[in-house]
């Protein structure tokens, strides 16, 4: 990978609501130029279901009081909420000499390496994005590329209420069960794992 012309800016945004964050990602990508730094945003979202470009609303079984937002990332329906680490890499793909597959693989690899430090063995699958522990899904990946810039990204379940995932067919798979680090002997706190994840990702992106 090439070294970025400008040092990336890594930011911990804390707990933020979905829609303004999504709009800010779109705006940054729309307005960035060849000199703009890459940004890596790490955060937690307020509870929300998001429907990706390939989403079938039939997989949204019973959203109840959790808001639903239809968005422009790849993939199906998913849930975000407190206790889940969300990572948005806003990368100039051309400058970083990355293709979509490279970035997806890199995000998946960072999850696998990060959780291995807690003794958790996770894997990715050949034809389904995301990271799994056994048959259960630990992390989801969905992106969008505009003008060579990536946005959206990764959601890693850390220590959260997984019940809302039972109100949907996550990623469009009936009965797909989710898991999280706190159930696997890992950390419970998103803020504790965020710096470590950011360090792994920047090391891979800009080595």
């Amino acid at each position: 990978m090439a070294v970025a012309a400008v040092a990336p800016q890594v930011q911990w945004l804390g707990r933020v609501s979905y829609e303004p964050t999504w709009r800010a990602m779109q705006r940054y990508t729309q307005e960035r130029d060849a000199d703009s730094p890459d940004q890596i945003w790490l955060l937690e979202h307020d509870p929300v279901f998001t429907l990706g470009m390939n989403a079938d609303a039939a997989h949204l079984l019973a959203p109840g009081d959790i808001p639903v937002v239809q968005i422009d990332r790849g993939g199906q329906v998913t849930y975000h909420g407190p206790g889940q680490l969300v990572v948005y890499p806003l990368i100039d793909m051309r400058r970083a000499r990355l293709g979509v597959r490279d970035l997806v693989s890199m995000l998946e690899r960072c999850v696998i390496d990060c959780v291995a430090r807690f003794g958790i063995t996770a894997r990715c699958r050949a034809n389904a994005p995301g990271v799994y522990v056994g048959d259960r899904k630990l992390a989801s990946v969905g992106l969008r590329i505009r003008r060579n810039g990536s946005y959206h990204g990764l959601a890693l379940n850390v220590g959260m209420d997984l019940e809302p995932f039972r109100r949907i067919n996550p990623c469009g798979y009936v009965g797909l069960e989710m898991t999280q680090l706190s159930e696997l002997g890992g950390p419970h706190d998103v803020a504790a794992i965020a710096p470590e994840f950011a360090a792994l990702l920047t090391a891979r992106l800009y080595r």
Partner: protein
């Protein structure tokens, strides 16, 4: 039992054999446009993926997909005749379609020779629909059928 080797990204070592397979199985009668140099450029282009089954001395099949913001384009796909009917083509397609699905790419397009009903039938079985016939697409001599598979219905699947 047939064991299917894993799909991998092509390297520069594979360029010559991929080019030969294109010449022999896809471009026959049309001249040779996917030369080793052109394949090598595609190997190095990060917005293009070349998926390969088999090692560089014995490639069983390959596919070349170019990814744009909204549309991906399948440039080439071939499976050796003696290794067809084993599902390799479908596996290669699914592997190449994966980044398009993850990145919200709305459609994959491809052209098939109008004089190759087997290829057109294969793409139909993979969910592709004919959208146009392009007269003289190949060197002005052979027509193409353009096929498309749509992934995203955009921002319209939830009633608003």
């Amino acid at each position: 039992m047939i064991t299917i080797p894993p799909i991998r990204l092509a390297t520069s070592q594979d360029a010559a054999m991929i080019a030969e397979m294109s010449r022999d199985y896809i471009e026959h009668g049309l001249g040779w446009s996917w030369t080793p140099a052109r394949v090598l450029a595609a190997v190095r282009d990060r917005a293009t993926n070349i998926a390969v089954v088999g090692d560089s001395e014995a490639i069983a099949g390959f596919g070349i997909m170019q990814y744009g913001d909204d549309t991906a384009h399948l440039a080439l796909l071939a499976v050796r005749p003696n290794q067809q009917q084993c599902g390799l083509g479908a596996l290669l397609m699914a592997w190449l379609e994966k980044p398009a699905l993850v990145a919200g790419i709305e459609r994959v397009r491809l052209e098939a020779r109008a004089d190759n009903p087997n290829a057109i039938g294969f793409y139909r079985r993979q969910g592709y629909r004919e959208v146009a016939r392009v007269s003289g697409y190949y060197r002005g001599t052979v027509d193409a059928v353009r096929l498309e598979k749509r992934f995203g219905s955009g921002l319209g699947t939830l009633a608003r």
